[in-house]
């Protein structure tokens, strides 16, 4: 390929299309293309291809993100994609990131106690070792988890009948990866009881929280079949939706009749507590 000056290479034609040219070569390439209609047509095709691909994906950058994608979701993180969280930022108030972590810290002490309780719970009930990690995690299984979380909330009777644990000590298994059950840091919530239900990967444990004159809220957790984390997702419609996600080797579901902003904010707090939990 010859124009004025050094010959124009194929790489320079691609560079011309992608705006990645050496100094002073643009004119040489343009002159070459003017003299070679066949190459000019190829370059035109590549330019059209670039436009096609960019146009096809142009909407992604401006559309709402999955609500939990912002790192360390919380009042600030959510504010970054406020349009995606249904006003979660407003629900959480305007306190700063530092204040949020302070609040998390306060609630963490009780969360740690609950985690210890959960470890004891997992120790008391039979928790068979999970099988080899599955090559994939069928969403159906996760939806079953959410359905069971819902039924745990529905079936919850007064706190006195809440905890029914197996007394079969022979099936006790040492579980080094105890499930983390954080405290729900919402004003007016009171821990009403703990339910343990059979799960797909062993035992599903649910913390049931009561609210004065309102429906209960359940935070359920069970061992996941693999350790990969997923973003929180919504199942159902608000105000009776569930938010579920996979974190630190466990499936979590938060269920309760709360408005969207409230449930999302609560899920974000739980997520942050689990992330910050250090069992050592």
């Amino acid at each position: 390929m010859r124009g004025r000056g050094p010959p124009v290479s194929e790489a320079e034609l691609h560079g011309f299309v992608d705006g990645d040219m050496g100094h002073g070569r643009r004119e040489a390439v343009q002159a070459f293309l003017a003299a070679s209609p066949e190459d000019a047509a190829r370059v035109k095709t590549w330019q059209r291809l670039n436009e096609t691909i960019r146009a096809a994906f142009a909407s992604v950058e401006t559309e709402p993100l999955p609500w939990s994608l912002p790192v360390a979701p919380g009042p600030e993180g959510m504010a970054a994609t406020g349009h995606t969280v249904g006003g979660g930022a407003e629900a959480s108030g305007n306190y700063s990131w530092r204040a949020r972590w302070f609040a998390v810290g306060l609630s963490f002490a009780s969360g740690a106690l609950l985690a210890a309780g959960a470890a004891y719970l997992a120790d008391r009930v039979s928790t068979p070792e999970a099988g080899p990690p599955s090559s994939e995690s069928p969403p159906l299984a996760r939806m079953n988890f959410v359905t069971r979380a819902r039924s745990a909330l529905r079936a919850f009777e007064p706190p006195s009948a809440a905890v029914r644990l197996s007394s079969d000590r022979e099936q006790r298994a040492q579980d080094s990866a105890a499930l983390i059950l954080p405290n729900l840091p919402m004003e007016g919530l009171k821990l009403a009881g703990i339910r343990a239900l059979p799960g797909e990967q062993g035992q599903m444990s649910c913390l049931i929280y009561a609210r004065p004159d309102e429906a209960n809220i359940a935070l359920c957790v069970e061992k996941a079949d693999d350790s990969d984390e997923t973003v929180p997702r919504v199942s159902g419609n608000f105000p009776s939706a569930a938010i579920y996600w996979r974190q630190r080797g466990a499936d979590y579901a938060l269920v309760g009749a709360l408005p969207e902003a409230g449930l999302r904010s609560l899920a974000a707090e739980v997520h942050a507590q689990v992330e910050a939990f250090d069992a050592r």
Binding site: T52, S59, E136
Partner: protein, 184 residues
């Protein structure tokens, strides 16, 4: 700007790249979004140690995402999930429409063409064309030389030369009342 803010700013572009890489479609994809989530979290966890910022952070995120995607593919984790997402995508269509062969839309053609490319070619093409990286940056992300990158680009372009032109924004056709005629 704090690392968390930087990461959150990068998230939409990472989503775009992940979706294009995995499904060839701009629509939300559970796998792609999980991949982005994983990459953001890993970078967030190691960010204070690595002290990444600005362009380095950007390149690091794309490198991590590309590598993680390859790992998932190698572990055979993508096949079933991707198939299920594709089934769900088509399952939303009306029954009659599902029973009949649906002519592929330009967007479907783009997706199919992208997914037909070899992974290395798709990565190179998307990093340069969609994400706007320079050849040097894309080569750094893919850990290859500039020459190899351009070769992969050339192969991808040769394979995609028959793609349809971008969709122009549809404008409703003017309906002329039947009683009017053009009079010269």
């Amino acid at each position: 700007m704090a690392l968390r803010d930087d990461l959150n700013l990068c998230a939409p572009r990472l989503c775009r790249y992940a979706r294009a890489l995995i499904t060839g479609q701009p629509e939300p994809s559970e796998i792609a979004d999980d991949l982005v989530h994983t990459v953001l979290l890993r970078t967030w966890e190691s960010g204070t140690v690595l002290r990444l910022a600005g362009r380095d952070l950007h390149l690091h995120l794309y490198t991590l995402l590309t590598e993680r995607h390859r790992e998932w593919l190698a572990a055979g984790r993508m096949g079933g999930k991707a198939h299920m997402e594709k089934e769900n995508f088509y399952a939303g269509r009306p029954r009659a429409a599902r029973d009949q062969p649906v002519p592929p839309s330009p967007r479907d053609k783009i997706a199919a063409a992208l997914l037909d490319l070899a992974l290395e070619e798709r990565e190179a093409l998307l990093l340069v064309v969609l994400e706007g990286f320079s050849y040097a940056q894309a080569a750094r992300i893919l850990k290859i030389s500039r020459t190899v990158l351009i070769m992969r680009l050339a192969c991808a372009r040769a394979a995609l030369s028959q793609l349809p032109a971008p969709e122009a924004p549809s404008r409703p056709a003017k309906v002329r009342p039947p009683y009017l005629r053009v009079v010269k």
